[in-house]
Symmetry: C2
Subunit: 139 residues, 2 copies
């Protein structure tokens, strides 16, 4: 997983006190989950009482533009973010618990590129989310 703070400052983004704090928070939280803006704000604010939620919104947008974090928008409405990881992955959401699982599948990636190409497009981005419920029995 990428160090958000490091990557952004390397790319020349002016790193203020608040941005450093928010970057750290996102890097930490990404280990375990996929925090939404409010959760990032709560944790950042715990470390620095002067961080406002407006700054969090402005900062995550910047980090995303700098390619340090990725924005996720599942069916729950809120925007979530995660630090960019080495390998791309997609998500499976447990619709009963909200739990988010990550997975990678090269086959799907390849087919997507092919499908886009067949339609006359160059694939720039994609979004794949699976929604499921835990299987009760074996098989």
């Amino acid at each position: 997983m990428i160090d958000v703070k490091k990557l952004c400052s390397e790319k020349g983004l002016r790193m203020t006190e608040q941005r450093n704090t928010i970057a750290d928070v996102i890097t930490e939280m990404s280990v375990e989950g996929h925090p939404d803006v409010n959760e990032i704000f709560l944790n950042a604010n715990k470390k620095d009482k002067n961080i406002s939620i407006a700054t969090v919104y402005r900062t995550v947008k910047l980090f995303e533009e700098y390619g340090a974090i990725e924005k996720l928008e599942f069916k729950d409405g809120r925007s979530r973010y995660e630090a960019i990881e080495a390998a791309h992955h997609d998500h499976l959401i447990d619709i009963e618990t909200g739990e988010i699982h990550e997975f990678t599948n090269d086959e799907i990636e390849a087919i997507q590129t092919r499908v886009a190409s067949e339609l006359g497009f160059k694939l720039v981005d994609h979004r794949l989310e699976l929604y499921g419920v835990k299987k009760k029995n074996k098989n």
Copy 2:
């Protein structure tokens, strides 16, 4: 493509004047595109000046619950809807023009089910969107 009005009344949804109008509008607009709530409202309101946007919101939610239309949420923020079609399909969005193309790919569908299963889940729903730009040159 499904006749929204017909399907809903068959399933026992009380079809009022407004719901009939909104159903017709969605059925018509689905032929060509993927209208958002405001576009549906504009067209419905043209046919019946008394239809309010609140009713459109309440009605599309109902139609969706009744399985007559599907809600799409692309990166532009707004919710879009389309009448359910016989075969499931996914979408490719031209990020330069906003144009929306439909495609089907059974391979991807199958892999999704398999991936979910391998993670211990029964696939209930999914979302796949490709974002691309038109290819300039051949190949």
